[in-house]
Amino acid sequence: MNFKKWLIFGLPVLFISLVSFLLFPSYSYVNKYSVKLETDDRLEAYIDSTIYFKLDANSTPESFIYYEFDQSQKLFRFLNISNTSIHSYDAVTKMQIEKMNLMKFGFSPNSKLQGFHFLNKDSLIVYDYSNAKLSLVSQSIGIRWSKSLFTLRGDIFDKVYPNVTQSSTLIYNDSLQYIYATGFMGDEGAFKSVDSKRKVLVEFDLNTKKLEYAIPYPAFYWGRNWAGASGFRQPFHTYNKRKNHLVISFLADHNLSVVNLTTLQSRNVFAGSREFDQIQSMEQAPLLFDFTSSKEKTDYYNQSNSYGPVVYDADNDVYHRIAKLANKKNDFERRYSIIVLDSLLNLKSECPFPNELVPFKSISTLTGIWYFNKAKSNSGEIVFSRVNFKKILI
């Protein structure tokens, strides 16, 4: 090659290569555990009961994006985004008995409603993700107040932008009248010093409207590329009301974080899967900018092992933690295992999760945890099944 030509074309490319190498070296981190797993039982998960809810002309299983069991009213309640309303079903008959149109309170189909919680028969709180807005709605009066759970004042990286899902629900402490939610601020692209400030838990006092952010990511997340919102960043949680503990499952952490909601202090408890002992972050370093595309991140996450939701079964006083097994083919097939932990979060067993159920969509009731049954649900019915365990005789 002519040296002059090389200078014109080759040198800029060489410069880009060197800058890329200096700025974006491999920052991959392997989170590996070396604990010797000792579990008591060899169990098998099976479906022991199934419940069916008939859907009306405006509902489908996928339009019901959020649900809760209202213990005091003995109702199953579903948020329907197709018509921006909450459908209530009787817990015994499973018949729809009421439909609350949220549009009459000012919410619109353009609101990005993610969750709700009934405080009593008349009042409920509603969370709108589009501006992190929590609203107190009185059915008799209307919206009493709205408040953003995210503020731009001060350093935004130590704030939390809540993301409410069926695996990270709104939590209500009725004695203190506090609301809790989890989420995160930003995606990837932070220096270690900034990343270490990022929190995942927001506490909101319904009376004083005071906000508090707590619980950082585990230290091994800091300054690494954990594939952002499409990957390992969104934490999952469950609430143990009796102990006032929130248990957080970070997707890349073999431990569970147990948060005492009275002190907002946390401790780690090992809850690793038998199916894998390591989880690796992406190669690309998130130093100045994150150049990895959302698709690359999603693919990386799909092809990696990770942890999923954790749910507390108050009826049996046990926890379920889901492990998502790597899908190297990167197709739509998913395989999960279910880790069973006792009331003190000691590992009891792990077995395959029934593949007709969706582990990310469960509902806790007085009679256990019911998982969304995708195989039996159809456009006319939404179906949930309860998982039970039996010992395998060897």
Binding site: V13, L14, T60, P61, E62, N110, K112, S293, N378
Partner: protein, 146 residues
């Protein structure tokens, strides 16, 4: 000198890979439409892929363009609605009549979902058998492609 050349070639490959990605995308979209739905893309001036969820504002805009075309028996746009598991959900959202048109395809098996990035609709203008990414504009109550 040889190392420098190798690095330069690798960088050049990296820089040009975007172009080949676009070409691959177009080819796989064309193949998918031909094989699964027996649709020849050359009939249309644009393809609009609309996900069921993601960026609300962007989806509303793309659905606005779709609503605008509703009354036509034939359209220059091919709409691919993806991400819905049940056609009933799409009917509730878009209206019963929308799904009877041959230029609106409802993909309940999520074949087109991998084309979607960041939950945003994708619009390709087709000119001389080539794909160009386009934007939807809304002014004077009319949706157009830019």
């Amino acid at each position: 000198m040889r190392n420098i050349l190798i690095i330069s070639i690798l960088s050049w490959l990296t820089l040009t890979s975007c172009t080949s990605n676009e070409r691959d995308k177009k080819e796989s979209l064309e193949t998918l439409l031909k094989d699964r739905y027996n649709i020849s893309i050359q009939r249309y001036k644009a393809v609009v892929l609309i996900p069921s969820s993601g960026c609300n504002e962007c989806i509303n805009e793309a659905e606005g363009l779709l609503q605008q075309e509703f009354n036509k028996d034939v359209s220059d746009y091919l709409f691919l609605i993806t991400g819905y598991e049940h056609s009933k959900t799409a009917k509730i959202r878009l209206g019963e009549s929308a799904l009877g048109k041959n230029y609106i395809l409802l993909d309940t098996l999520s074949h087109f979902t991998p084309f979607i990035n960041n939950g945003k609709p994708i619009v390709y203008r087709i000119e001389n058998n080539k794909f160009y990414e386009a934007r939807i504009d809304y002014s004077n109550n009319i949706y157009t492609l830019n």
